[in-house]
Symmetry: C2
Subunit: 225 residues, 2 copies
DNA sequence: CTAATATGAATGAACATTCATTCATAGTTC
DNA sequence: GAACTATGAATGAATGTTCATTCATATTAG
């Protein structure tokens, strides 16, 4: 009881306005919820679990979220936001060459900050409920459209002037996204024990196959041989 | 109440030994559970829902399964079994040509009996909980190993004698499986409205890219041009 | 009649949500 | 600057609901 009070006091101290404080506490709860969902699953996560993990009281959750579902929705939003920011940053860093840009986009999926088992577990926990809970779809819809358009644009740039294949930009984009998400599933279940690096290398090989004209640029470490 | 009794009576009539009867009722419950999971999600499915959908009493569930979890495990087993049987049948029908065999294997993912939204929804519902519930992993483990070995074998046959790429059979198999499962996710969320046929065509294009030496054999309708 | 099966009301545990109370801080007054 | 008040964040016990499981009873089959 005493420690809680102190923790609360410290949380209050960390400056910014009261609005900033509110944001911080919401993030604190969303982080705790993410951890719970990753280790217990959506089904077994209780508000009591989340509160305990956040070092807060159960009652505080309703101060910051209308309901448990609203908290979950915030978790999904946070994940989506983080991922979108990551691939956009990646594109900025990648320069102008189409192949480098596409490679950067795909690498984001296997980035150290993105491709963590706990986060992937949460992605799949939500995907496993999209049919039953349309609000989850709704959260992702905007991010997904943005993602898909960017990826299709990159694929179009890769295919421009190379019409030897029957591959369409949208189709190629769909395949690239599917491959990445499928590799995430592999990472999640851990069947083969492949790590982030190995998965990224596999992704590169698939890109090289899909866009043979630029295969060398997806060659990874461009093996010394 | 009366109709339930009649239903039970009819169920009992359908012959076979008592063991066959037991199997039939278990299947009846597993089917109902699959339907519930697909439409309500794992989280909101209750035994009352399952019983209602099966046209049975809640108490009967415990006659055929030790617990709700045991019922769910049976659902996952049924799905896995069905999928394994389907790709094996596909291989038998495909003959000896490696490309035809690989294509058949992949087509199974987009088969009418396999690639149904309700079934895909259930696959993802379970995948979304594999971390939290190791028993789900255990159910799939055997089927997955078999699946992966078969696919790696097919990829090895495709790559035999064509060492121009750095692609390894296991890596190629991983990519093919990831692509298929990623396309399933696309089908589940329905973002792009692609149907089974279109997804299968995309999968073919990825196969053609991964195994260019056999590209013509993945050409789909081998467009009249 | 006996054994096997089916039924659904009853049970109690688990859970999300509510809300009266506590308390630290900021603001106000003299 | 000291004393007092107002504010709202934080708390967790209490509440009412939901749900898996149980089991006494009813039904059917042999």
């Amino acid at each position: 009881m005493h420690s809680k009070v102190i923790a609360a006091k410290e949380a209050g101290r960390t400056g910014g306005g009261p609005a900033a404080h509110r944001d911080r506490r919401r993030k604190q709860l969303a982080d705790a919820a993410l951890g719970c969902i990753a280790s217990l699953g959506l089904r077994d996560t209780t508000v009591q679990d989340v509160a305990r993990r956040a070092g807060m009281a159960v009652g505080s959750i309703s101060q910051y979220f209308d309901s448990k579902e609203a908290l979950y929705t915030a978790v999904l939003n946070t994940l989506s936001e983080e991922f979108a920011a990551a691939w956009q940053r990646g594109l900025e860093r990648a320069g102008d060459a189409p192949a480098a840009r596409l490679r950067s986009f795909v690498r984001t999926y296997f980035d150290k900050g993105i491709c963590q088992r706990r986060k992937i577990a949460v992605w799949f926990a939500f995907w496993g409920e999209v049919r039953a809970r349309p609000q989850y779809r709704k959260v992702c819809a905007g991010y997904d459209r943005h993602h898909d358009q960017a990826l299709a644009g990159l694929c179009a740039a890769m295919l421009a002037g190379h019409h030897e294949t029957r591959l369409e930009p949208e189709g190629a984009a769909r395949l690239v996204a599917a491959m990445c998400q499928g590799l995430w599933l592999e990472f999640l279940t851990g069947d083969t024990g492949l790590g982030r690096e190995e998965l990224a290398r596999l992704a590169d090989q698939n890109l090289a196959a899909l866009f043979p004209a630029a295969a060398l640029e997806f060659g990874g470490e461009t093996a010394t041989a």
